[in-house]
Structure formats: structure tokens, C-alpha cells
């Protein structure tokens, strides 16, 4: 009998039908139970997402709770204290602090660890830009509630003192205090998971710029040639951890970024797509078991989808390097990197203010067009010794589209001043450019009930300039 003919036939006996019904019933029960449990666990995130709080269960040692790769069976789901992190709104800029723990602390296993790696990743989905900023471990910083210390001890202190948010919470607070930007998530990556994840991807392609000696956790040290090569998980980890180069910890930050880009390249490679799909469950398990984070699975997936849309040229890569620090020793002989806040601020702005997204001015047009659109009411007062200056200035400003509602005389002043009473940034910007006013002579005296939006007091400086203009 051909298969199709068989399908058209009916079962010959009631017994056959009963067997069919029973089989179907059993199958239904099995499928229901299986998928129910699967969905339940998925929603409950039972494996990778560790508690955010630094508070340990009674009897639990620090090493049991904090060491990467050791996943307790009875862990609680992530607790995200909103006072510690600012939750991501789901569409605006999102920033993640990625941390790797110190291998020596980790392998010792007798207490909280310090961080070995700290990297800030930020993504602006609206403008499709991203940035990464590496922070050296020896940076000498203020740790909230504690004395100044190396930034890698912030995590340790948070864990050791069971501070709200634990090690990650204290690390986040410290980095926020250093850079001033809000951090929404943290991800603490375990060594083992990192290497296994890269192995599952088939290794990462790295352009090794200079011959370098690396020391894998397992096996003897080896030297990598200066060439593009595929590194397996173990070698990629050793490459990212290597410090024995001229630039030490600072060079290492750049190597770590190279490895992250290598992973990104693998994940986005179309030729790799079928492999990735077939290995998705394994990769998910590696992430779930080896990454401790306050991110939910939904958020992780959403972020990953957003991140893959950002082209490489839109990703700013920076590291706090020798230009942003000075080298010094503490009185007890510790070698530390003393930050230069001004220079670090410039670096931060390159990464975070390259696109201000929703937090920047979005009114289109030139300075003059924006001023016209704002239509702020301006009063012009002549505080100079030049007769008729306010009238002439009014005419010039009105020609540009400014909304001058009144001119009058004011108190005499040598320099031109701008006073903004209701907050009119575009008009203030335009007027400052028009008169060449130093920002120190621009004052915001916020009074929402003021009958006028801005007042310009013309000074002798403007009178002189105006009189010399043909």
C-alpha cells in the first residue's frame, strides 16, 4: 500500500481508534507538561540571572555567592533595586557596565573578588550609534562611602560590606561618580563561559598588531605572531588579559575591545548564521550560566537586536589611557593611576555626547531659524553712551526675525548682557552669537511669570562695535 492510500483508509477496528486516542492523549499531556515547564523556567530565568543585591543568604560564603561560574541551584531571581540603577526606558540611550572578575581572586575562592576588567558599553537606538569606554583597573577614584581606592576594589567593597546592590551596585555607583553618566545594567562575565562561548562560535578573528606573549589559564605561555588569526576561547581570553606589554593595563583595554569586536563580527557574519541557529540553545546556556546581570531575558534580546543594527563606523571606541592619567605611588607603595577629570570628561563626551539622542536640541535649522521659531519676546535696553543704539539694534534684530517688543534706556554698562527670564535657549544662543557676548554675561533668572522673556542690555562694547560697522 502506498503512503497516500494508507492515509485515505480508515482504521479497521475500534481498538485501533482507542489506541490512537490514547496515544494522542498521552502525547498531549507530555507536550503540555514539557512546554509548560520550559516556558515557566524561561520566564522565571532560573539559571543565569543572579541576585543583584549583595546580601548573602545566611550561611552562604562569599565565594559561593560571588565567584563566576559557580551557579547555586537555589538562587533567587534578579532583584533590581531602582535606587541603584536607573531603569532603561526601552527606547532611549542604554548603558551597560561589563565586568570581569580578577582571576587570582576567583581561583583563590576564599572571599569577594576585585574586578579585572571594566568596560562601559552604550547604545543610542534613536541615532543608531554606540560606544565603548574601557576603564583601567588601577584608576585611583573616590568610592562612595569609602576612602579613595583603585577602581577595581569597588566591587570587592560592595560585596565585603554587603552594600545595597552588592559588588555590582558599588561598582556602578563608583563608575557613575567618575563619569557622571547613568548606568542601566551590569553584566559580569565568567571566564569559563567566555571561553566556551567563543569556542562555540568557532573562535574569533583578531588582528594582532605586535608580537605578544600570552599566558593561557590552562597550558604554557605562547607567543602570538603579528598577523590576523583566529583565536580559540582560551587564547582569546589570554589575549584579552595579557598585561605584559609596553602599555600594560592601558594596552590591554584596547585588546579587550578587539576581542569584543571579533565576537560581534562572528555573530553578524551571514556565513555563520546557520551555525548560530543550530547552536542557539548551547549559546543561550553559556550566556545564561556564565553572565550575571540585572537584565531580563527580554531586555537582553532587545538589546542584542538593537546592537546588531549599529554599523561599525558608528561605534566609538575609547579607553582611559596614559593621556587621561598620571602615574603615582600611594604612601604605602601602591602604583596607581591618578585620573585627570578634565581629560576623562573629554573622553566621556566623545563616547556619550557624540549623539545626544533625546537629550539634545532637536529643533531643526540654523541658529537664526531656531530663534525665529522660538519667538521669544525681547526687550532691548540701551545701557551704553551711544545715542539711538537700541533703535538701530532693534532694526537689525528685527531684520533677522527677532521678536522685539520694547526698547528703552537702561542702567549704564560697559559690556552687553543678556538676561533670560523664562528659558529660551535658542534665542539666547542666537543673541550671544549676534552680540559676541561672553557666557559670563549671560544670566538665567528663571521667573515663569515674567512679562518679558529676555532682556538685552546694550553696553559700550556693542555701541563701539556697531558704530564701526559700515
Amino acid at each position: 500500500m502506498k503512503p497516500l492510500q494508507f492515509l485515505r483508509a480508515t482504521p479497521k477496528s475500534n481498538a485501533q481508534r482507542l489506541v490512537m486516542l490514547a496515544a494522542l492523549l498521552i502525547l498531549v499531556v507530555l507536550v503540555f507538561v514539557g512546554l509548560f515547564v520550559f516556558a515557566n523556567r524561561l520566564a522565571n530565568s532560573p539559571s543565569g540571572f543572579l541576585p543583584f543585591s549583595g546580601v548573602r543568604e545566611e550561611g552562604e560564603t562569599a565565594s559561593e555567592a560571588e565567584l563566576p561560574g559557580v551557579i547555586a541551584e537555589n538562587i533567587e531571581p534578579a532583584v533590581v533595586p531602582e535606587g541603584i540603577v536607573t531603569p532603561w526606558d526601552g527606547t532611549g540611550r542604554v548603558t551597560v557596565l561589563v565586568m570581569g572578575l580578577d582571576y587570582r581572586d576567583w581561583s583563590a575562592g576564599d572571599g569577594p573578588s576585585r574586578t579585572d576588567t571594566m568596560m562601559l558599553l552604550t547604545l543610542d537606538p534613536l541615532q543608531n550609534t554606540a560606544g565603548m569606554l574601557s576603564i583601567p583597573r588601577d584608576l585611583w577614584v573616590s568610592i562612595p562611602g569609602f576612602e579613595n581606592g583603585r577602581i577595581n576594589t569597588a566591587y570587592f567593597l560592595g560585596e565585603a560590606y554587603q552594600m545595597p546592590g552588592g559588588g555590582p551596585g558599588m561598582a556602578i555607583k563608583t563608575v557613575e561618580g567618575l563619569l557622571g553618566v547613568e548606568i542601566n545594567y551590569y553584566a559580569q562575565v565568567d571566564f569559563g563561559a567566555f571561553t566556551r562561548f567563543i569556542d562555540e562560535l568557532g573562535g574569533v578573528k583578531i588582528d594582532v598588531p605586535d608580537r605578544i606573549k600570552i599566558d593561557p589559564i590552562v597550558g604554557d605561555p605562547i607567543r602570538l605572531k603579528a598577523e590576523r588569526q583566529v583565536l580559540n576561547g582560551e587564547l582569546a581570553l589570554a589575549y584579552a588579559r595579557a598585561r605584559n606589554t609596553k602599555g600594560g593595563d592601558l594596552d590591554r583595554a584596547l585588546r579587550q575591545q578587539q576581542v569584543i569586536f571579533g565576537i560581534r563580527e562572528r555573530l553578524l557574519d551571514p556565513e555563520n548564521l546557520s551555525t548560530l541557529i543550530s547552536k542557539a540553545p548551547v549559546l543561550y546556556n553559556e550566556i545564561a550560566s556564565g553572565v550575571q546581570t540585572n537584565m531580563s531575558l527580554d531586555e537582553l534580546i532587545k538589546l542584542a537586536l538593537l546592537a546588531q543594527k549599529v554599523p561599525e563606523e558608528n561605534i566609538t571606541r575609547e579607553a582611559i589611557s596614559a593621556q587621561e592619567v598620571s602615574f603615582a605611588d600611594t604612601p604605602d607603595g601602591q602604583a596607581v593611576l591618578v585620573p585627570s577629570p578634565e581629560r576623562i570628561r573629554q573622553l566621556r563626551d566623545e563616547v556619550f555626547l557624540a549623539s545626544t539622542g533625546t537629550l539634545g536640541p532637536l529643533l531643526p535649522g540654523t541658529s537664526q531659524e531656531r530663534m525665529v521659531a522660538e519667538s521669544a519676546q525681547i526687550r532691548v535696553l540701551n545701557g551704553s553712551q551711544f545715542d539711538g543704539l537700541a533703535s538701530r539694534t532693534q532694526a537689525a534684530l528685527q531684520a533677522d526675525g527677532a521678536n522685539i517688543i520694547e526698547i528703552s534706556n537702561g542702567e549704564s554698562t560697559a559690556v552687553t548682557r543678556i538676561l533670560d527670564y523664562t528659558g529660551n535657549p535658542h534665542t539666547a544662543q542666537y543673541l550671544a552669537e549676534f552680540f559676541g557676548v561672553d557666557p559670563i554675561y549671560y544670566t538665567l533668572e528663571y521667573d515663569p511669570n515674567s512679562p518679558v522673556d529676555l532682556v538685552v542690555i546694550l553696553g559700550d562694547d556693542w555701541g563701539l562695535k556697531e558704530s564701526q560697522t559700515p
Partner: protein, 407 residues
């Protein structure tokens, strides 16, 4: 029923089975997901409750031990998680009072920070969000205003751009000032003001606040490493903005005094007794600390006997030394010796502060370092307590002024 079943072919059975399985699978996934979410929420609630209780208890321990900076962080956290938690408002107020003694610093103990936005994407219509923003602008709730505007722009970036730009400008400006002047979040404030500069020049008063924050951050970057630099920066702030504080809650005036003591210790270590005495005396003039007095007396004696550039030798007989913020490795805070001096000194080469231009491998021995409870002291200068409404010294033009000449 059986009659109906008898008519079914194998194909029907197969399709039926397939359909039932799909239906069952979908239902199982849906039920499982909902049930998992409920379990997760329950677990979260239980974990959070335990966490809050533990943090409150640890906060009490820190408070009793005088670790006010740590206690404050814990009570802040408890308040944010559960504003109705019994006793936490009182404890936080008490902690803030202890931190501020004997000065009065405008620090709010109300759970203002609970206004953290929900992580759930805001799906309200832009009009409604805009109305909320207007209300926040009228109430001068700047921080929430910035969050609301961000939410609005996530929905529609060009929505009423003129008004929204203006609101955001004001929100960022005053939120930045508030972070610097009231919250101790100096770098966060500086960042907000950097965002403001994308709109318009920073107004003169905001520039002053920004400058103070910058000075504090530079001073603190040298903390414990180059105390003379810390002294340089905090001396400026101690007179201009003595109540400026950082996330640890340490006021600029206290930073100045402690930096002077650190610098004095450093000079004493180098055998520069007379210079050390100058620093100690200056610090003592800001706040008379009895614990420091023996060190001052000893250094003074050394200076008078011409003991400069001689390094002390350790003996059994130790003299009290400047209390410092040195770490002890335990939660118990004790005035720790930063320098041990004796009556007899032997000349040794002057110890230099090492600042090398090359990177060096740092030693890795982290030690917990709880901050010494700091009791801010008023200094002779008048405290500056600016508010966002403060104005610069620019005369408000009198609109009723009679024109004397042609305008």
C-alpha cells in the same frame, strides 16, 4: 461519538493530532509563561523584602558604629524600595543630621528619589506626556521633567520641538545644578550641564557651580596620593563653597581640613617638621581636634629643636598621630596611625613623593576602607547655600526707568 470516529481516516487522525498538539503547545507555553512570571514576581518580592530588612539592620549597625556615610546609603536604599518601611525616615534623618552636625545643610530626607521611572515603556500618547511635562515644569520637578521629555521623544522626537527643547533645557540645567549643590552627584551635574551647553551657553551662575564641581573632582582625584594638590584645590572651595559635597557626603571644608592633616603627615614623614606644623595648625584652626593635638605638639617640638629633615625612628614609646581616613580592614573605625614618631630621631634622606612617568605593576591587596565619620565644621566664612533661583551679580534692569537719551 464512535460513529463519528469510525468515519475518520488516518489522514484525519494525523491532522487532528497535529492540530491538538499545536493547540496544546500554545496553551502550555502561555500558561507556563504566565505562571513563571508570577513565580518570578513572588520570588522577587520575597527577595526584596529580605534584602530591605537586611540593609536596614546593617544600616543600624553602621549608624551605631558611627559609619554614617555607609548607613546613609543603606537607609536611602531602604527608603527607595519601601517608603513606608517603619523607622527608616527617622533613621535617615538622624543619619543626615549626624553627618551635618553642627551645620544645617539643605538635604532633603523625603523619598524624592522614589520618582525613578518605571522600566515599562511609556505608551501614553504624546499629548498626555506633554501635559505631564508641563505640570512638572510648573512644579519645578526638574529631574522628573527630564525623564518625561526623554519618554516623549522616544515616541515622537519632533513633537512640539520648540517647547520641548525649552523644557529640556530648563530641566537639564536645574537638575544639573541640583545634583551639584544638593545631591553630591558632582560629575552627574557636570554631565547634565555639558548637555545644556548643546542648547545654549551656560549661564553665569551655572558656570560657577560647574567650576566648583570641577575643582572638587580634581582635588579628590589626588586624595591620599598627592595631599599638597588636594590642599590647593580644597582651600579654594572651603571658602567659596564649604558645603559642597560628593557622593560620600564629605563637605569641601572637611576635605580641606583632612587634606591639611594628610599633607602635614607627609611633611612630617619627610622630616619637614616646621612645614608640617604649619599645616597642622591651619587644620586645627578650622576645627580643634584634640586627637591631633599631641602630634602638633610633638611636631612643634621637633621644629623648635631644629629637627627638620630628620626621619623619626620607631620605638616602643609611640606618640599619638593624626587621625586619618586610613583603612583598618574591619568595620570598626579607629583613629589609625599614619605616622609613628618618637622622641629621638635619626637623620635619613628625605623621602620624596614618587610620581613616575612610566606605568608600573600595581600591588594587589585590596583592603576595605570605610570612611571615617566626618562631622562637618563651620568655618569662619559665610556658608554659601545657593539655589537654582540664585542669580549672578547682574542688576535687574528697571523697566520703569525713565529714558534720558534716545534709546
Amino acid at each position: 461519538m464512535m460513529k463519528y470516529l469510525q468515519k475518520l481516516t488516518w489522514l484525519h487522525w494525523l491532522l487532528l493530532g497535529f492540530f491538538v498538539l499545536i493547540l496544546t503547545g500554545t496553551m502550555a507555553l502561555a500558561f507556563g509563561y504566565v505562571s513563571g512570571n508570577r513565580e518570578r514576581d513572588t520570588n522577587l518580592a520575597v527577595a526584596l523584602e529580605t534584602d530591605i530588612q537586611t540593609q536596614y539592620d546593617l544600616g543600624l549597625q553602621d549608624f551605631n558604629a558611627g559609619n554614617y556615610a555607609l548607613a546613609r546609603q543603606r537607609f536611602d536604599y531602604v527608603l527607595q524600595q519601601d517608603p513606608n518601611y517603619p523607622g527608616v525616615v527617622d533613621m535617615l534623618s538622624e543619619t543626615l543630621l549626624r553627618m551635618a552636625e553642627p551645620t544645617t545643610v539643605p538635604v532633603s530626607a523625603t523619598p524624592a528619589s522614589t520618582a525613578t521611572p518605571s522600566p515599562t515603556p511609556d505608551t501614553r500618547q504624546a499629548d498626555e506626556i506633554f501635559a505631564s511635562a508641563e505640570s512638572q515644569l510648573n512644579n519645578q520637578d526638574w529631574k522628573t521633567l527630564v525623564q518625561t521629555i526623554a519618554a516623549l521623544r522616544n515616541i515622537d522626537p519632533q513633537y512640539r520641538a520648540v517647547e520641548v527643547d525649552r523644557m529640556l533645557y530648563l530641566g537639564l540645567l536645574f537638575s544639573g545644578i541640583d545634583k551639584i549643590m544638593n545631591e553630591g552627584d558632582l560629575e552627574g551635574g557636570v554631565y547634565d550641564l555639558a548637555l545644556v551647553e548643546r542648547f545654549a551657553p551656560l549661564d553665569s551662575q551655572a558656570q560657577i557651580y560647574q567650576e566648583w564641581a570641577r575643582l572638587y573632582q580634581i582635588g579628590v582625584s589626588f586624595w591620599g596620593v598627592l595631599p599638597e594638590k588636594s590642599v590647593e584645590y580644597f582651600s579654594q572651595l572651603a571658602s567659596a563653597a564649604p558645603y559642597l559635597r560628593d557622593l560620600s557626603g564629605i563637605y569641601a571644608s572637611d576635605r580641606y581640613r583632612l587634606a591639611l592633616l594628610q599633607y602635614g603627615d607627609r611633611l612630617a614623614q619627610m622630616g619637614e617638621w616646621c612645614l608640617a606644623v604649619e599645616q597642622y595648625n591651619l587644620a586645627q584652626s578650622l576645627k580643634d581636634d584634640q586627637a591631633v593635638q599631641p602630634t602638633v605638639t610633638f611636631a612643634d617640638d621637633q621644629c623648635a629643636s631644629g629637627g627638620d629633615s630628620e626621619e623619626p625612628e620607631e620605638t616602643e614609646e609611640m606618640v599619638t598621630i593624626t587621625p586619618s581616613l586610613e583603612i583598618t580592614g574591619t568595620l570598626t573605625l579607629t583613629p589609625t596611625p599614619g605616622l609613628i614618631v618618637t622622641e629621638e630621631v635619626t637623620p635619613t634622606p628625605t623621602q620624596e613623593i614618587i610620581v613616575t612617568p612610566t606605568p608600573s605593576e600595581a600591588t594587589l591587596e585590596p583592603t576595605p576602607a570605610p570612611t571615617e565619620p566626618v562631622e562637618p565644621t563651620p568655618i569662619p566664612t559665610e556658608p554659601v547655600e545657593p539655589t537654582p533661583q540664585d542669580t549672578a551679580a547682574v542688576d535687574n534692569p528697571d523697566p520703569t526707568a525713565t529714558p534720558e537719551t534716545s534709546p
